[in-house]
Assembly symmetry: C2
Homo-oligomer: 326 residues x 2
């Protein structure tokens, strides 16, 4: 009975057209080590480098690692970041204009000469504080928040900080503790602004968090975006892919889409087909979906990751077509 | 008879008010070594550092000195500069917003980490290419072009490049030659957009250009700004300060205000008094007018320099009061 109240679909010819030269902007926010870069790289691979600008807002750190230590600031603190400049740059990119982006070198924690960044058709912005202000949030077409199971995030972060950022294991663990308070104060409250909260988790919590193949993916779908109708896929399903009405941690009603790591190929393929059919103009992008590098740097394929990427891609394509411009 | 056609003066109460938070922006453009930094520093000293933001657009060089050499580009070439970013930053400052300014280190010709620059009440922007686009020019309240006698400029530039920028005399002379073509193509055409063209010159062309005390100052006053009425000072004057109707090098009618280096103290003081009386709200700024460092780094006082600074200051004060906002 509720569905009879929905407005009729607009005929195609009256669909709004996105302003020329205005890129589509995706936000990926989450705690340190939540997998932001991996998700952004996966989506970038779908569209191809010639159509994607990647922006990591860690580059807007105001201080070097050493300066932060002297001041007792964590990189999660807005005071340790050029928040107003980030907002300004997002607005410039949104308007299709290039920016001169600052550079924070994660390998040694120093600030470097800035680089010129031009907006391509799709801009993927990943960072810690990117939904902090209304003006920033208004720049995004699609807002994702990444919230992996905490044990996974900790394991991913330690591995990354030691392998790529020159921390010893002791230092990396101390950083984790030091940042927890700032994370609770500054990072996690941004979850509430996301259209989609994506949470990777182990199927069995007792499995070592370092062996992270075949993770489940839980998607909290907020009604702030018109999510695709997945009922043809999930109807009558007992496992593998489930869609449930639920209350979010803040009590608000949401859809929860759960994709299990061991979902049958046949069912995963059915969901993929359904989503690609909804965006026929993007069918040619189907090649590189769902790949990631595992802990041994081998390219692997994951159904939940592929479907998460595809769900986000679906929204980016719809935004590019101007469907979300009204 | 012509003066009877002038519109009546607006009563003070109807004067337009400048938008709150919008700084007054002065442009100083001219060839390399023309004295831009010296003029900017002199005007900054009048207002005081707490009210002035200094911006040198050399910081928008796209390449290091070494990269320019490899590409065969001079710093005068717009292609060797982030022109769109400069335009964007001028617009942000104009709107009262901070920028993250790139940094070009003149001492070794390298690019560095950017710095955060907040707009204060007065922004003094000196540079090579700052009037290149309409959008840039629209950001300025007052536009000055510096055009010293060529022998003076050459001597000033060589002295500066050797003392402060690590060039040998041979290198500095080669740079001068190499840049001449780009200067004719890119720098000097901007002269036409200035409200005021300021030209320091020797009283006697045969004097060594290194001994540059008591220079004459010639001001070409374009009708793009309402210049103060100087007739009470120059009427009946035989020397020292002259105001003449003339044709500019492009054939356009202009006023030429000539202030000689050996103008009598009494006459210079009379012009100073007249200008300060026209901006009574700025009388407290009178202390630091007209000082400069000579070639031996001694602080000296020059009447022509003082009066040039004061004429520019007059326009900045009028702009700050909103007189030029209509």
């Amino acid at each position: 009975m509720m569905s009879s109240r929905l407005p009729p679909q607009l005929p195609l010819s009256t669909l709004p057209v996105r302003p020329a030269g205005q890129p589509v902007i995706l936000g990926i926010v989450g705690d340190s080590g939540a997998g932001k870069t991996t998700l952004a790289a996966g989506i970038a691979a779908i569209f191809g480098p010639e159509r994607v600008t990647l922006l990591c807002t860690d580059d807007y750190h105001r201080y070097s690692r050493m300066e932060r230590a002297e001041r007792g600031l964590s990189p999660f603190d807005p005071q340790a970041n050029y928040m107003d400049i980030l907002e300004q740059h997002l607005q410039q990119l949104r308007a299709g204009r290039a920016i001169l982006k600052p550079v924070y070198d994660h390998s040694d924690g120093t600030l470097r000469a800035p680089v010129y960044v031009e907006p391509k058709d799709y801009i993927l912005v990943e960072g810690l504080l990117t939904y902090s202000t209304r003006a920033m949030r208004d720049c995004f077409d699609v807002k994702v928040y990444l919230e992996p199971e905490e044990e996974l995030r900790t394991a991913w972060k330690l591995r990354r900080d030691i392998a790529k950022r020159g921390y010893t294991e002791d230092e990396a663990r101390r950083e984790l503790d030091r940042r927890l308070r700032d994370s609770l104060t500054h990072i996690r409250p941004q979850r509430t602004f996301a259209d989609l909260v994506l949470s990777f988790r182990r199927r069995d919590g007792s499995v070592s968090p370092v062996r992270t193949n075949n993770l489940n993916a839980r998607h909290i779908l907020r009604p702030t975006l018109p999510h695709p109708d997945l009922t043809p896929i999930v109807e009558g399903a007992k496992n593998g892919i489930r869609l449930e009405l639920a209350r979010d941690i803040d009590g608000k009603p949401v859809d929860v889409l759960e994709i299990e790591g061991d979902v049958e190929d046949r069912r995963a393929k059915a969901m993929e087909d359904l989503l690609w059919d909804l965006i026929p103009e993007a069918g040619h992008l189907r090649a590189n979906l769902g790949q990631y590098l595992d802990e041994d740097q081998h390219t692997r394929m994951s159904h939940p990751l592929a479907l998460s990427q595809l769900l986000i891609t679906y929204h980016l394509i719809k935004a590019a077509m101007g469907h979300y411009a009204i």
